[in-house]
């Protein structure tokens, strides 16, 4: 085998090539849209009963067909819906002139195959606008995962508070050890309540245990109620449409919000796709979700996202799944959870159109903790991406559900969250935590930073919670008793919300003042530009105010902290005639308002190296501040015209430098050192040497600009804008050049 050429060896090493890509295979269900085995859409109704659906006779219905046919379709509108041309309906979905309600009405009468076929016609940009128009809730939101490897209650509470501080309105936890579930549910609920009222919390575990925790008030919603698109996999999942329908009612009977989970590719992953396309099977899941009365669906690949992502158009299909949920008039939690690529480019590409379009929960969920602590597996977005997400919101002026949080505030919340859990566990007799454990949990970036955590503690606490029949009322009483009245009140408000039941409606979340936002109270009214959700001015200010932004004043005070008095004015500068005389022209702000160059050297240090380099060549350097221009070429040329040798060095205070000669035009120069952040002492020394050699009439080898593959401009351009503004303020037309003396040490 011959060795590939260097370009392909290099390409092979890129991260995207760690991902798996599948040749489409219809038999294995490895096809995104339109398998040849997908049925022709059809619907035949006789005496009010569906007798044929999607080319299958009633006698041949499987469990899913039967439940969908008997419960899931609007039979009154079905004839009109099924007769609507696929492309016509696809256009109605996108057309801002057709109200969402009309699209939703028609979709209700469409069979799974029909809806799948219509949505397969939409291109990505059309899907994006369709999300904006068709999601149920006007205001977008976001969900976080909060878990850790040790089920550490203190860290869970601290991380739940952190997630809430960053704006997540739902928090999903789970366990590596099933027995730990009740403790996790309580710890996360308390932590979330420390940071904000109205955070919905769930603990994803086996169906029966999850229901039990919900009934005890330990969680406020449920999501991991899985649906699958083929009968075989559905049964392998140990459920039927009827058991799921009953479970759905069971949650509602206790006033608990619930959604189901599905996602394209899961059937292929489990080896029983019946040769159907992923999208058609998902269309069955979504139809079933509506049929059983779930208020919402989490889909978009989910655990099989990398399977869907492995086939052509698979990423588009995942987005179309989300839209399908919206068209069925359900809450849409749009996945973007399981990490589907090793490539940052690719995972961003997968999420971005959904982020821009906006959904009920853009991710479900965002791994707000370390990748290694995510007990669902690493997410598409993780703790290291929170700043990226905040910046993306700011870049696009889009509400992605998060908000910046200041470090002192998050530190305070983590302290309070751990203290609250510690006190509650102690009062309820569940566990005692050491100070060391608490201190580590407050500071921790992840569970690896909490070696003091004891793995038996959550397990024994959970056993005590179950044996002692501890309910959320007990937790609230313990919070109140130990001085956490605010948190007690917040958690009690969540229990009151169950009694009121408004959050059982589609797409319900709570605002921080406990108002329900849902399909009912906050309906999406998008109808083209200027309509629909727009962040309020306050919300926009909040999103735009990321902690990394800097103003000119910030830069000015940062520069002031490096102020030195080594550079002193020594009177007007004149033209000299000594052939060894080389003038170093510096910019107007030098030694006045800017003291440090972009590479981290002070201006004094850079000047000292330049002078030393000139001296090595037997030349004499003279520092002159050029006060009437900030243009480096002109600064250098002016310096050259003052110099006896006719050679000048131009140096901006930010560090950019060049060598000039008096007979050249301003923009022509001998050598330019343009990438100031990459310069260092040696570079300035060499610059001085080369200028000296020019002065002596020789032609030195130019210094090669240092190589960098960093985004130099991204890092420094905003700083440069501020530094240039400061230079301009120091610049005065007509003000003559002045000589500066560099004292040995003026600090």
């Amino acid at each position: 085998m011959t060795r590939p050429i260097g370009r392909f060896r290099f390409m092979d090493e890129q991260r995207v090539n760690l991902d798996g890509f599948a040749v489409p295979d219809v038999d294995l269900g490895l096809v995104a849209f339109d398998s040849p085995n997908d049925p022709e859409p059809s619907l035949v109704i006789a005496d009010g009963i569906v007798v044929q659906m999607d080319s299958r006779e009633r006698a041949d219905f499987d469990l899913l067909d039967r439940f969908i046919a008997d419960h899931g379709l609007d039979l009154v509108g079905a004839e009109e819906a099924m007769a609507t041309d696929d492309l016509d309906f696809a256009r109605m979905i996108v057309d801002p002139g057709v109200p969402r309600s009309e699209v939703v009405r028609l979709a209700a009468g469409m069979t799974p195959a029909k809806l799948a076929r219509c949505l397969a016609r939409l291109r990505p940009a059309e899907l994006t606008i369709a999300l904006t128009k068709c999601r149920a809730r006007r205001t977008p939101s976001n969900q976080a995962h909060v878990t850790n490897r040790s089920d550490d209650p203190l860290l869970l509470a601290a991380d739940a508070a952190t997630a809430a501080a960053f704006g997540f309105r739902e928090i999903e936890t789970t366990v590596p050890v099933l027995g730990d579930a009740p403790s996790n549910a309580i710890a996360v609920s308390i932590g979330a309540a420390v940071a904000s009222p109205g955070i919905l919390v769930q603990c994803s575990v086996e169906e029966a245990l999850e229901l039990e925790m919900g009934m005890r008030g330990l969680v406020s919603y449920a999501e991991t109620v899985s649906l699958y698109g083929t009968e075989q996999i559905f049964i392998d999942g140990d459920d039927t449409p009827w058991s799921k329908a009953f479970l759905t009612s069971a949650y509602a009977s206790r006033g608990i919000k619930m959604r189901v989970t599905s996602g394209g590719g899961s059937e292929a992953l489990m080896g029983s796709a019946e040769g159907r396309s992923m999208f058609y099977l998902e269309a069955r899941c979504v139809a079933l979700a509506r049929a059983i009365g779930s208020q919402g669906v989490q889909n978009g690949g989910i655990d099989a996202a990398s399977v869907a992502g492995a086939v052509p158009s698979g990423v588009r299909a995942m987005m179309a799944e989300n839209l399908m949920v919206m068209l069925r008039n359900l809450e849409s939690c749009t996945g973007n959870d399981a990490l589907m690529s090793e490539s940052h480019v690719r995972r961003t590409s997968r999420t971005h159109p959904i982020f821009i379009g906006g959904t009920d929960f853009i991710t479900s969920g965002f791994g707000s903790i370390q990748r290694y602590d995510n007990m669902f597996g690493p997410s598409q977005w993780n703790a290291e991406d929170i700043d990226d997400w905040l910046v993306m919101q700011r870049d696009w002026g889009v509400d992605g559900g998060l908000r910046p949080a200041a470090e002192p505030e998050v530190a305070r919340l983590r302290e309070r969250a751990t203290a609250a859990v510690r006190d509650v566990y102690q009062v309820l007799g569940l566990a005692d935590f050491s100070d060391e454990w608490r201190d580590q949990a407050i500071d921790a970036a992840g569970s690896k930073d909490v070696p003091a955590a004891d793995l038996m503690t959550p397990l024994s606490a959970s056993r005590l919670i179950r044996d002692g029949q501890v309910t959320m009322l007990d937790v609230i009483a313990a919070l109140d008793e130990t001085g956490y009245e605010i948190e007690a009140e917040r958690l009690l408000a969540m229990l009151r919300a169950r009694v009121i039941g408004d959050y059982l409606q589609t797409s319900a979340i709570f605002t921080e003042d406990m108002q329900v936002l849902s399909l009912v109270t906050d309906p999406n009214d998008y109808a083209g530009p200027g309509t629909g959700y727009q962040p309020t001015p306050d919300r926009q200010v909040e999103m735009d105010g990321i902690r990394q932004q800097r103003s000119v004043d910030d830069l000015r005070s940062e520069q002031a902290s490096f102020a030195s008095s080594r550079l002193a004015s020594a009177g007007p500068a004149d033209v000299q005639h000594d052939p060894r005389d080389v003038v170093i022209g510096v910019s107007p702000a030098t030694g006045r308002a800017i003291w440090r160059t972009l590479c981290g050297l002070t201006v004094d240090e850079a000047l000292a190296e330049l002078l030393a380099g000139l001296e090595e060549e037997g030349c004499r350097g003279r520092i002159v501040r050029i006060n009437d221009t900030i243009d480096l070429g002109l600064i250098g040329l002016t310096a050259a015209r003052l110099a006896g040798s006719g050679i000048g060095i131009g140096l901006q205070a930010k560090g950019t430098a060049l060598i000039h000669r008096r007979d050249l035009t301003p923009l022509a120069n001998l050598e330019l050192y343009s990438v100031a952040p990459t310069l260092d002492r040696a570079a300035y020394r060499q610059l001085g040497v080369n200028a000296g050699r020019h002065a002596k009439g020789s032609t030195p080898e130019p210094l090669r600009n240092p190589y960098s593959d960093e985004a130099i401009e991204a890092r420094y351009h905003t700083t440069v804008v501020s530094l240039v503004a400061i230079e301009r303020q120091c610049c005065a037309p007509g003000l003559p050049p002045e000589t500066l003396a560099l004292e040995e040490d003026g600090r």
């Binding site: 169906e207 009827w242 008039n329 009322l473 109140d480």
Partner: protein, 118 residues
């Protein structure tokens, strides 16, 4: 004014009431009438299936937690005989949970035809 399943108005579900030992689990459980109200809201918002679910839920508010978990288990594939499911349906009918009873009977029929009975 919304009342809890216990009949206590939701405005009385307060920390003071909890401190005084007056709150019981039924004070933080939803009342069937509230679910019926929410069902009507769901209907008005183009989701009759959500409405049907909330009405089934209303019927289940009176069932003990453990019984609900047990019925859910019985509805899982391969767990029940036909007679077992019919008995559950009859039990649900007898406590006024007729929509749930219908659901269970339907399940029994579907499980029989698809070979999912024990």
């Amino acid at each position: 004014m919304t009342v809890a399943r216990s009949g206590r108005p939701v405005a009385e579900v307060t920390l003071d009431a909890l401190r005084a030992g007056r709150l019981t689990p039924d004070d933080v459980r939803i009342h069937p009438d509230t679910l019926e109200h929410q069902a009507r809201v769901a209907e008005e918002h183009a989701n009759p299936q959500l409405a049907a679910n909330l009405r089934r839920a209303a019927e289940l508010t009176g069932l003990p937690d453990a019984r609900i978990v047990a019925i859910y288990e019985a509805l899982r594939p391969g767990r029940s005989t036909l007679a077992g499911l019919v008995a559950i349906a009859d039990e649900l009918e007898s406590v006024g949970a007729s929509a749930n009873a219908t659901l269970v009977r339907e399940a029994a029929d579907a499980y029989e035809s698809r070979g999912l009975l024990r």
